[in-house]
């Protein structure tokens, strides 16, 4: 099959463009959070996991310590380990490809791959989305970081509001049904209660502990919260499997 005719390649390219573009907001937010240009680029080049990157700069922006920023980013990266197991079973990369595949294992490349049924298409989808997003995400991080430094007071442009919106945007698609919404509310309340009594950066670890305890003791769906940040098949799902609002039962 010609590459241009592969549905997985087309989905992978469109998700690359959509995801890559919001690297601009990461770059701009990162430099206004107090990181310099190269620290920002190091996160996009080496860490390469949107949620964890936003978590790192979010904690730094809130006055948290480096160790708290690292903890938040690392805990949020846990799900990539689960994705790795899924993709290893699905694609079975060998040799150096396994190490390259690990680096581009993120929400979007996993979703693009697991959304396909044909093994060859699963492989094409994974590599197209993984490499495409890596290239564009880093390119647009650089653009955002350079523009962000020239913006002046970030509050004037509402960049702190952009961070709030970005986190809500990452959380929103995971709130399908009553239970994930309840977990989110409990962790949000735990965070608010913790802010005045513990050092900056620690409230997020309190919330993580609460969430882990809920996961340990409860019996819901096992894939809860592991939905990708951006659903590459949103258009195809629309109509018969639309996103439910948090208030409705699943």
């Amino acid at each position: 099959m010609r590459l241009a005719q592969s549905p997985a390649v087309r989905v992978g390219l469109s998700i690359s463009i959509a995801t890559g573009l919001y690297g601009v907001s990461f770059g701009a937010l990162s430099v206004t959070s107090g990181l310099d240009f190269w620290q920002t680029m190091a996160l996009s080049l080496l860490l390469f996991s949107g949620g964890s990157q936003f978590a790192f700069i979010g904690v730094v922006a809130g006055g948290g310590s480096g160790v708290a920023a690292m903890s938040a980013a690392t805990l949020l990266g846990m799900r990539n380990g689960i994705y790795g197991m899924q993709l290893n079973a699905l694609l079975q990369p060998r040799g150096w490809r396994r190490f390259a595949a690990a680096h581009v294992t993120i929400d979007e490349s996993t979703a693009t791959s697991t959304g396909q049924t044909d093994p060859a298409e699963q492989r094409r989808g994974f590599w197209t989305a993984g490499i495409g997003i890596f290239v564009l995400w880093n390119l647009f991080t650089a653009v955002g970081a350079l523009a962000g430094a020239a913006l002046g007071d970030p509050k004037q442009w509402g960049l702190d509001g952009a961070a709030v919106a970005a986190f809500l945007g990452l959380l929103w698609p995971r709130l399908k049904g009553r239970e994930p919404a309840a977990i989110a509310v409990v962790c949000a309340v735990a965070t608010v209660l913790a802010v005045p009594v513990v050092p900056a950066g620690v409230p997020i670890l309190v919330a993580a502990a609460v969430a882990a305890a809920v996961g340990w003791f409860s019996h819901g769906r096992t894939d809860e919260g592991l939905e990708p940040d951006v659903d590459p098949y949103a258009d195809q799902h629309r109509g018969h499997e639309s996103r439910r609002s948090p208030g409705e039962a699943s």
Binding site: A18, Y22, S25, Q39, A42, L46, L47, S49, G51, S52, A55, M70, A73, T74, L75, G77, M78, R79, G81, I82, G84, M85, N88, F99, K155, Q156, G158, D160, G161, A162, V164, A165, A166, F167, L168, G169, L170, L171, W172, I183, A184, C187, T191, V192, V195, P196, P203, I204, V206, A207, A211, A212, G215, W216, G220, D223, E224, G225, L226, V230
Partner: protein
């Protein structure tokens, strides 16, 4: 300089999480408790980060223009706006409210 240290350590640990999935036997994937904790923790962390960025200023809680950003983003998400639009809605609401004088 110490920020660099924690940053690079974060990068190493992020890659370690990813790689460990490829190196572990796939049978662990069938442990429902492990994948469930990964899921609830993702929700909890994102909820915590959303709230922190909305109301926290260091160790105190404040209600300011960021609350408007949260509301605007929720409205945009409700109408299924693309991610970039949601982020712009949040930034626009915060900037607009400050222009109107609400810190």
């Amino acid at each position: 300089m110490t920020l660099w240290l924690w940053l690079l350590l974060s990068c190493v640990l992020a890659y370690a999480w990813k790689l460990v999935g490829y190196l572990l036997p796939a049978s662990l994937l069938r442990n429902p408790r492990m994948s469930r904790i990964a899921g609830t923790m993702t929700i909890g962390l994102l909820a915590s980060l959303t709230v922190l960025n909305t109301v926290a200023s260091g160790q105190s809680l404040t209600l300011d223009a960021r609350l408007g950003a949260l509301a605007a983003a929720a409205v945009a998400l409700w109408f299924r706006a693309p991610f970039l639009m949601v982020v712009l809605a949040g930034a626009g609401a915060a900037a607009g409210l400050r222009l109107l004088g609400w810190n």
